[in-house]
Symmetry: C2
Subunit: 199 residues, 2 copies
DNA sequence: TATCTTTTTGCACACACTGCAAGTTTTGAC
DNA sequence: GTCAAAACTTGCAGTGTGTGCAAAAAGATA
């Protein structure tokens, strides 16, 4: 029973995608409703209509189900930075790539807001987010060193530029949140890049 | 049987301190020898000569026993920044406080090296370290806003200065490590602060 | 010595997570 | 439509982390 047409391209892929999304949203909802600690993996599975064992086929940990951060984003941005026009200086390349990325995230502001609200209230999740940010920063640092072709032991400035760029991103996010998610995040980011000397 | 004299001031406090240290060193040693995952909390307890249950009286998690990072360092540095002479600009205060802190860490280079080696090889621990760094950054951001008396929603520059300072610290550490922990970390940090515009 | 406090320990338990093997669904070829 | 291969789901059994509780051991106090 495939009933193609009511459901669009009903292949295995899309079913998996929907199951994953059901699990993720169930995880976030339950965590918001009753707290992260008080929510068990079994409950999330039940809410999404799958067996407990299946939950762990989709997410390695309970935290992953809530944060749901893309594990290969660092690699993707690394590539994006490396593939930028070679005449650009590190700061320019980083700025372009990170601006694109933030524009993408602006597409789903609710998700971002729920995530950061949850993270603010539960240390496990904020640690998790910090870890994801750190892996991203490391990937960007490697990317700019690759572009520059210099030795990290001698050249401090190149790696530093990537860390300054990430600092600007964090500052922009923080300000955005402090301002009640009002106004354009991309604009704030632009200001932050300028203030951080990323140009 | 207190035998004061063979052991120094043998009170309850010092016994606890030594037990904690035994657990920490046993945890680090075992994790280095056979890997983090392959080391169980029970084994750490046994190696330190205490019961498994006691292990968790000293450390909330296995990760804590290895990282052993001081949970109230953020609060301490927050205070240090706030208490700096009021004529100093944020960047100056941050630079002074972080320089002091790094000088302290330079006192035990072996510990730092083992930690970062372990963290580099096991994602759980690097996530943990990133989380600790993030909590520190957040504390410093709050501290400089407190000094400035401004609203984070309007004033981006103040919070950004704290994040730039932390970026400089990370860059200096990274370079130091890339250079085989050779030379003065404090010197590298000074260069990094200058390059990041923290002054 | 007697007593009060702190620490250690054992026990039972909830929950996260994994390997494995058996079931079910989906797919693609005929 | 039938059938076999591939992919996905599930149950089961087990390891390991981490917690509450109450009894035992150790240390401090007088």
């Amino acid at each position: 029973m495939t009933t193609a047409g009511t459901d669009g391209p009903t292949d295995r892929e899309s079913k998996k995608r929907r199951t994953r999304l059901r699990l993720h949203t169930a995880a976030v909802r339950l965590a918001v409703e009753r707290g992260y600690q008080a929510t068990t993996a079994d409950e999330i599975a039940a809410a999404a209509g799958v067996s407990p064992r299946t939950f762990f086929n989709y997410f390695a940990t309970k935290e992953d189900a809530i944060v749901g951060s893309d594990p290969d984003r660092p690699a993707r941005l690394h590539r994006a930075v490396v593939e930028r026009p070679s005449h650009e200086r590190p700061a320019e390349a980083l700025r372009a790539v990170l601006t694109d990325q933030v524009r993408e995230m602006e597409g789903d502001p609710d998700l971002w807001r729920m995530r950061s609200t949850l993270a603010a209230s539960t240390p496990e999740l904020s640690t998790r987010l910090a870890g994801a940010g750190d892996r991203l920063e490391t990937a960007l640092v490697e990317a700019v060193y690759l572009r520059a072709g210099t030795d990290p032991a001698d050249d401090l400035a190149t790696g530093l530029s990537a860390r300054l760029a990430m600092a600007a991103v964090r500052a922009a996010f923080h300000q955005h949140r402090a301002a009640g998610a009002d106004g354009s995040l991309a604009d704030r980011l632009d200001t932050a890049f300028d203030a951080a000397g990323v140009r």
